[in-house]
């Protein structure tokens, strides 16, 4: 059947099973918008800024495990999308971003709204394409989805010149694709798996450390089964929260810069470390020289380049996390392998001692709202069942520490790039994915203003997101570093001239609430959660000088934490 390039794009998205496209129109993509207008299968969500489109598509992907799709115009549309693309890239999120481009004959001529989108995005995509011939369009789109979603996932940009969207070609949905240069591994090497198991069964002080890869690789179920079977302690990275039930006794909390004392101490003292779908990020390892110096390290990851990149490992296993864990479970059961129960008992006794420091405790107050208290209560009021997105800063760390995630895909934050402005649009994506679930955006008065315009999108589509704004009148995380490391010289971290968020929310057509006293926190949260079909903006006026503890200063070892 002969279709225009624009029709091919839309038809392809339908055939690929795409439900939502987050986008913003402009000259170079008008043919595509016209094709969208003429059909009902693919729903286009009009955001208010292209950064919002990419973050929303990203939030959708994180909340579902399916690829997110964004559509933007050439030039400024594409450059506005870059922050979202880089955010997805750093966290390995499957995203397909369609960017319009000026007509082929104008490329390179500094045409109106021309930028080299392929060049600009190259360092922050898994791959990108410029479509030069409408006959290649369907196949390139197929490759884009295939590359974005397989192996270690990531964003793929497809740059489509306007004339290509007008030209016609035969369309058939490409079911099969073959890429000779891209064949991601899936199964782990059996010999390596057996060597790893031998080490695990001999361990006296084992520790499991897992990252976002377990969630991306659909490995939560097998991870939970394996961890319980072995009785080993486990910690998750900021990206990995929810891969293992946060309320379970074997869970030691998050590790790293603002991780728990018990998780970091157990990392430091373990003799066998089992790293799964994690990448030894500097916010996790602290000083790599001192990192897990007593441990033999096993590393399971789908990306060979993650292995021994920052920390040398002893037993690398390249493969899909879920496959490898299932294989481990099979062998353990078949051979009836047993960990060293006696040694584990002593190890747990030590861990319980560390746990007893209760490192997340904070001073409650009757006068001023403690941010930790808000999150603790948010967890209770939502019964741990919400999808929680966050922005970047102190509130993000408190959310990670105080909201216990029992399931994967529920905790959605920009871990790798640390993008302020991510929270609200990501919540939109999550809410589209789960229209009947509670979606909460935990944010700060600094971050929320970076994509505040999306409140308008939320009204248009009736997204009942609950915004928890921890308003400390400071760029809190910046202020904290200035307090600790710059002798309290608070350069540019005070947020002056803030808007009245209640009236701001109201002027966008939503419900606004200001909460100033600790006693009002729980009633306000309950009231907000009852408003099932309204977006509620809760502006919590919190303690201005609260800091995130514990903290490992950059460059220190995991056993050198600052406790309260």
């Amino acid at each position: 059947m002969e279709l225009t390039g624009a029709e091919i794009v839309v038809r392809f998205l339908k055939d690929e099973g795409v439900k939502y496209v987050f986008g913003y129109p402009g000259g170079a993509v008008l043919h595509i918008y016209d094709a969208l207008y003429k059909q009902q299968d693919v729903e286009h969500i009009l955001v208010r800024h292209e950064q919002g489109a990419t973050h929303a598509a990203d939030g959708y992907a994180r909340a579902t495990g399916k690829p997110g799709v964004a559509l933007v115009t050439s030039g400024p549309g594409a450059t506005n999308a870059v922050t979202g693309i880089a955010t997805a890239y750093m966290d390995s999120i499957p995203l397909v971003v369609l960017t319009g481009q000026v007509p082929t004959h104008l490329i390179g001529n500094d045409a109106f709204q021309e930028v080299d989108s392929v060049g600009i995005t190259r360092p922050c995509v898994k791959h990108n394409f410029l479509v030069k011939d409408v006959r290649d369009l369907a196949m390139i789109l197929k490759k884009a989805f295939y590359i974005a979603t397989t192996g270690r996932p990531g964003p793929v940009v497809v740059d489509i010149p306007k004339d290509v969207t007008a030209a016609k070609a035969d369309y058939k949905y490409p079911k099969q694709i073959a890429l000779r240069s891209y064949r991601p591994v899936t199964k782990g090497h059996i010999g390596q798996i057996k060597r790893a198991l031998k080490l695990m069964m001999a361990a006296e002080r084992p520790m499991i450390y897992t990252g976002g890869g377990v969630i991306l690789g659909g490995g939560s179920g097998s991870l939970t089964e394996l961890t319980r079977l072995l009785g080993f302690p486990i910690t998750n990275t900021l990206m990995g929260l929810g891969a293992y039930p946060g309320t379970d006794k074997q869970f030691l909390g998050m590790l790293g810069m603002h991780g728990t004392y018990e998780a970091n101490m157990a990392m430091h003292h373990c003799d066998v470390l089992i790293a799964i779908g994690a990448r030894f990020d500097d916010r996790v390892t602290g000083n790599v020289e001192k990192f897990c110096s007593k441990a033999k390290i096993i590393h399971i990851d789908i990306d060979p380049s993650s292995i021994s990149k920052n920390v040398r490992v002893d037993i690398p296993i390249v493969g899909n996390v879920d496959n490898v864990l299932k294989e481990m479970l099979r062998i353990i059961k078949e051979k009836n392998l047993k960990p060293r129960r006696e040694a584990l008992k002593a190890w747990w006794a030590q861990i319980e001692e560390w746990r007893a420091t209760d490192c997340l405790k904070y001073q409650q107050s009757d006068e001023v709202i403690k941010p930790q208290y808000v999150l603790e209560q948010l967890y209770k009021v939502t019964r741990g069942n919400a999808f929680v997105t966050s922005d970047v800063g102190q509130h993000q760390m408190w959310a990670a520490q105080f909201y216990k995630f029992d399931k994967p895909h529920r905790w959605i934050n920009s871990g790798g790039l640390g993008t302020m402005g991510f929270g609200l649009p990501a919540a939109m994506g999550a809410q589209f994915a789960h229209p009947r679930s509670t979606v909460v955006c935990v944010t700060g008065e600094g971050s929320i203003q970076m994509c505040i315009q999306e409140l308008s999108t939320c009204l248009q589509y009736g997204l009942p997101i609950k915004i928890v704004n921890l308003n400390n009148r400071y760029l809190g995380m910046v202020r904290q570093w200035q307090e600790f490391f710059y002798q309290g010289r608070y350069a540019m971290s005070y947020m002056d001239a803030l808007p009245d968020f209640v009236r701001l929310a109201e002027s966008y057509g939503h419900v606004g609430m200001r909460i100033e006293k600790p006693a009002e926190v729980v009633p306000a949260l309950k009231e907000a959660m009852k408003m099932k079909d309204r977006l509620v903006f809760m502006d919590f006026i919190t303690d201005q000088t609260e800091n995130v503890y514990p903290m490992i200063p950059a460059g220190a070892g995991l056993n050198e934490m600052i406790l309260v």
Binding site: G119, R122, S181, S305, S308, K309
Partner: protein, 163 residues
């Protein structure tokens, strides 16, 4: 350690910049880089000369393999291999220097490929080391211009980099 990495990559627009971009973004060093299509027009063969510890070279090969356009690669320096680079050098050749330069070219098995009353242009192939030695041997004051192709290489024996 110096490594010569041979890469088969898709002969696509942008493939070269993906490789070059990878090296600059990750701070890896490139001593030379050459690229040209192969007998199969859909494939290019690239040769990169780089330096780094074993860990860095391991990362470089892994990161290269991760690029979607990279089909296959081989670290030539891991086995016996042949390395060749071409040098074209234009030198001032007057009076006694003419004799001297002809002798030097002979010793290095180069050839003089262009002559004027004032200059010689000499062509020389070999390992980078040999070309360095030749340039070293020519009096600095005589050198007008040099151009080097960058290193290409191939494995010795039956080892071949192909699909």
């Amino acid at each position: 350690m110096r490594h010569i990495i041979s890469i088969l990559l898709e002969n696509e627009a942008g493939a070269l910049s993906r490789v070059a971009g990878l090296f600059s973004a990750r701070g890896y060093n490139i001593e030379s880089l050459t690229v040209a299509p192969t007998e199969d027009p859909s494939l290019s063969r690239m040769t990169v000369v780089t330096r780094g510890s074993d860990e860095i070279i391991e990362q470089i090969t892994k990161q290269l393999n991760k690029l979607i356009d990279v089909v296959k690669l081989q670290d030539l320096t891991e086995g016996a291999h042949i390395e060749r680079e071409m040098l074209l050098i234009k030198v001032k050749a007057v009076d006694g220097a003419r004799e001297e330069l002809m002798r030097l070219t002979d010793i290095f098995r180069g050839s003089i490929i262009d002559v004027t009353g004032q200059t010689f242009t000499i062509e020389l192939t070999g390992t980078s080391e040999k070309l360095d030695a030749f340039i070293e041997a020519v009096d600095d004051k005589l050198i007008l211009e040099t151009v080097r192709s960058g290193v290409t290489g191939i494995a010795r024996g039956e080892r071949a980099l192909r699909l």
